[in-house]
Subunit: 140 residues, 2 copies
């Protein structure tokens, strides 16, 4: 199955409820879909995209430094499954010749993708992208 | 310098502001001090202490699974420095013969300490404990 490179195109944060939204859009394309995430993860993504710095490691920084400490290098993020409106992501980690996969929620995976430099590619399985778009346009 | 084993004795969560408090108390003793932490970390600690389960890995779970995936085992948490009212912690990770140290905020370190089974020991440097207590009782 093909993996489609996508980019974080928007973050919509509402202080009123606990459902924040990130939008992923196909790189160089027009297909886009939203993922509902929590306020903590949304804030974490937002501050990294804006380049805010923190004097102490925040929770997502800690994941990055733990992986680095143990000799791993984040390679990319894949979103490879959609089941009952839940997206499943993996963080792929390279260590020497090994390629390891870490099961994650898309919110954490994207927060890490935008934390490391250079930012990680976000790859979405073609069929997940199609399902996601169909789900957003039930009448079409 | 001696490391004093301590336990998480209280979590005080207020929805009104962003300053939540955890209290650490000397195991088998009476010395106790508070650490101010964020609402996300406080909620994360609280749900783990209460044994709430999540169908998908939450952010602190992801740190645990990343370390496990890369062959590390969390050994304990140390709180080894207090500077300008900021506590500095380390998560100590064993991998084979190596003992590695991961710099962390106490909130993340304690969230991980209560996430892994068996829970990790929380060790506070004697001089940090003394400073912490002196700071809480400025008039004494």
């Amino acid at each position: 199955m093909a993996l489609i490179p996508m980019e974080l195109s928007r973050i919509v944060i509402s202080e009123i409820n606990n459902q924040q939204v990130i939008f992923l859009r196909e790189t160089g394309g027009r297909r886009e879909f939203p993922i509902i995430i929590g306020i903590f993860e949304a804030t974490s993504i937002d501050r990294r995209v804006k380049g805010y710095d923190s004097p102490r490691p925040l929770t997502h920084d800690l994941i990055c430094s733990a992986v680095e400490l143990l000799g791993g290098v984040f390679q990319d993020v894949t979103i490879h499954r959609l089941e009952e409106q839940t997206y499943f992501a993996s963080l792929r980690i390279r260590r020497g010749d090994e390629l390891l996969e870490l099961d994650a929620r898309p919110s954490d995976a994207v927060a890490i993708a935008v934390s490391v430099r250079p930012m990680l590619a976000i790859l979405v399985e073609e069929d997940v992208l199609e399902q996601a778009i169909a789900q957003e346009q039930p009448g079409k």
